[in-house]
Amino acid sequence: MGSVKPNRPRTPQQNGSEPTPERLLAILEATTDLVNLTDTKYEQLYYLNRAGRRLLGIPDEGALSNHSITRFHPDWALERIRKEGISVALQDGVWVGETAFVATDGREVQVSQLILAHKGRDGMVEYLSTMARDMTENRRAQEALRRSEEMFRVITENAGELIALVDTKGRRLYNSPSYERVLGYSPEELRGTWSFEQIHPDDREQILAAAEEARKTGIGRFIEYRMRHKDGSWRTLESHAGVIRNSTGDIESILVVARDITERKRAEQERERMQLQLNQVQKLESIGRLAAGIAHEINTPVQYIGDNTRFLQESFAELNKLLSGYDRLLQSARSGAVDPALIAEVSAMAGHTEVHYLINEIPTAIAQSLEGIDRVTNIVSAMKQFSHPGTDDKVAIDLNQAIESTLMVARNEWKYVADLVTDFDRTLPLVPCLPGEFNQVILNLAVNAAHAIVDCVGDDGNRRGTITVSTRHIDALAEIRIKDTGPGIPESIRQRIFEPFFTTKPFGKGTGQGLAIAHSVIVERHGGELMFESELGQGTTFIIRLPLRPQQNKQKPTT
């Protein structure tokens, strides 16, 4: 390997790096910019490179002595060059300006022109050189950019949406004028302020987290929050953010597009309130119709309990009177001589009292009264269970018993038109339920079943249908089937029966909420399923499936 020597500059000849005149000329000829040399007056062309000849339509080999450069400029450009360019170049050595050439096809070509004044050894300017770059494309791009900016400006300034640009620290860089309309603050007021300032304290954490997430992932998501209006009121906004990166890919700012959804929220709340009210109306409606049946169911036994008790009271008085007669008779007998008049009196009394009737009737009256009391007790405890105060927490209930109570409460709805068959799976474990709402569903379905049967057999009591209610324990589900022998649901309306307000009952007879509520209670509140099987002429079976494991109440997705 020999000794290590320091690098010595290699001779140009050896490695071709020397800027030889040939090489420099080659560059001039190869560049796409126009390059020329002229006299100091910028008239006589000494040199024009290939790009220049192409542009101006001068043959590559043709002589230049016939051409004055001046005739290749439009008047305005020549004037600028003469008035400004040449003098500045002569004085300062260099001038740069926007001018133009007239191309061979007559087209005005915008250029950025550099004029250099070259001095000789004596310090006098010997000639001028020009380098001009065609700016047409550049202009076009700039124009496009300007237009695009203008467009975005128009969009942001006229958009209903709130558009804001904030830096990564949360300082506001830009706010669209819509901020003033929606929140009362002018863009000027907002510029430079902290963007979390007006956000509701309860919502800040959420926003900070979302902003942080956007910074990390570069992906924004929809968030909903409240912002204070300048007048102190709160507006609800829904926004989405995107990140803007600089040329190195770092996040430079965050663009937030927000929309005022206060009115929409209000409408949504209004709708929810209406829905709640409707549910309440439906509940009141069913309680109202039940009241008739329950009143009848209770008042009938109460009536005969009262009748019997009154009868017992009177009977006891009669028997007591007779008993006192017998008592006197006994005392008289004890004294030895029984007065025949007393015997006659007591006999008459006994004959008048219908003792045999009373002896037979009193135990029956007592037994029937006790039976009546049992009936009232059953109805009252069923009502108590049915009207289980609505809780928002699920409790484990015995479905069979809940169903039995509800059917008992609704007894008057079906007892004149249908026989009830229950087929309960006694192995069914306790099921987590909202008892009040679940009972309401069973009630709605039972009443519908009774109505379906009336549609089929009429209510003259000559023909009756059957309502079959069964429960089954199937894997992790409890299944309840409520089957009627009604006419079945016509194919044409099967799709619609769970829709709110859909009803086949005559006007004023149903709110059309029964099945809609049943559906929402089972599916949304219990995470279960509600479906039906129906066959025309055979009847309909509604099937409820409830999960045995407690499930979260399905929350409405918060945005």
Partner: protein, 407 residues
């Protein structure tokens, strides 16, 4: 022949209970207990019954249908409801198919009292024909114009509705009947038309007006009908006027008006059912110069005050109104010794007859001197007479004094 009572309830235990408490009636009446409407109708076809007491909610034939059939087939039967639930809709449908309703549960003694009352009403009517006429009357005539006002008026207020009802004998009677039925859960008896209208509510009153059928009043010469209507309204107004002059309590004022309107209910009933005999009675009264009531007794076996009271009694109107209707010719026959609605109606009726001196309608009836003397008000008669002629002259101008309304 012993009378028959039929009790219908689908619940055997309820029937047993009723059997026990109605036993006291068994001495004078044959009691039939049916648990099915068909069976009940079968028994009735064997031999008619005098009174039925029926449940409403039953399997098969409903109580309402059963009562309707009884009304059509056996118009001489008193029809009562005993039901554990009577809502407004049901009530409207029962308005004319039953005379009266009792709500379950009721005190057995009260039930017995209602039955005894109804039985005493029908047994007090001497002829079968008249009894049938009373039992089958489910409405008194209603003026089509007033019905129209109630049904068609878009902005009907309770006050306006009361004013309409207060000008119509038929509507006033049925509104008072329903207001005193168990569907209106008011402890006191209702003798005031504005109270009755307020208790029932506009919808119910409207429905009653709408369901009123035009009865076959061809029997009435329109002239006689108009006169009877005018006399009823004049008496109501007059009674109210007199009561007001005597500064009585508002309740008596209202009752005087209502009882005044209904005081000739019996005359409506007799004229519509027996037009020819009624003309005969009028002729008899004029020819023989006897009171019309006496002529009515001769022809029908009972005079119109008694007939009207019997009808309203079956309908369950308050006892004080019944007394006013039945005794409006002779208040001294009652044990009432202070100024009452009866006094006001009696005086107004007598003074209006005196003023109108209507030979076709009836010979003049007089103010009962014993009653007024008993009250120490004999000196007031001229004041009342003056007020009546003042008040009625206003009526003839087509402007009725304001009918009663709630204070």
């Amino acid at each position: 022949m012993i009378g028959r009572i039929l009790i219908l309830d689908d619940e055997p235990l309820a029937l047993d209970g009723l059997k026990r408490v109605l036993r006291p009636l068994a001495a004078d009446w044959e009691l039939l207990f049916a648990s099915d409407a068909r069976q009940a109708l079968d028994w009735m076809s064997d031999r008619p019954v005098d009174l039925v007491l029926s449940d409403l909610l039953m399997p098969g034939m409903k109580g309402i249908e059963f009562l309707g059939r009884v009304r059509d087939q056996y118009p001489q039967t008193v029809r009562l409801i005993l039901s554990g639930y009577i809502d407004r809709e049901l009530l409207l449908r029962c308005a004319t198919s039953a005379h009266r309703a009792v709500a379950k549960p009721c005190n057995p003694a009260d039930l017995l009292a209602v039955l005894r009352r109804a039985l005493s009403v029908i047994t007090s009517i001497p002829t079968h024909t008249l009894r049938t006429a009373i039992c089958r009357t489910d409405r008194l005539p209603t003026q089509p114009e007033i019905r129209r006002q109630l049904i068609c008026s878009g902005d009907l207020s309770l006050d306006r509705a009361s004013a309409c009802v207060a000008r119509d004998v038929g509507l006033a009677a049925i509104v008072l009947k329903l207001a005193n039925s168990p569907v209106v859960q008011v402890a006191k008896q209702i003798c005031s038309i504005p109270d009755a209208v307020a208790c029932l509510g506009l919808d119910t009153v409207r429905s009653l007006a709408a369901s009123a059928t035009e009865p076959a009043w061809s029997a009435f010469t329109p002239d006689r009908l108009q006169k009877l209507w005018k006399h009823s309204l004049d008496t109501a107004m007059g009674a109210q006027l007199i009561a007001r002059i005597e500064h009585v309590h508002q309740e008596i004022l209202d009752e005087a008006f209502a009882a005044g309107l209904l005081h000739d209910a019996g005359k409506f009933l007799l004229v519509s059912n027996f037009p020819d005999q009624y003309s005969e009675a009028v002729r008899l009264a004029i020819e023989e110069k006897i009171e019309l009531s006496e002529a009515e007794v001769r022809i029908f076996g009972a005079a119109h005050p008694k007939v009207g009271a019997a009808l309203l009694d079956l309908w369950g109107l308050p006892a004080s109104m019944l007394e006013t209707v039945s005794m409006h010719h002779l208040p001294s026959g009652t044990c009432c010794h202070r100024f009452s609605a009866l006094t006001a109606v009696h005086v107004a009726n007598a003074l209006i007859h005196e003023r109108d001196d209507d030979s076709d309608c009836s010979p003049v009836s007089h103010v009962d001197p014993a009653h007024i003397g008993d009250l120490g008000l004999s000196a007031r008669i001229n004041t009342w007479r003056g007020a009546i002629s003042d008040g009625t002259s206003k009526m003839e101008n087509g402007k009725w004094p304001v009918p009663p309304s709630r204070p």
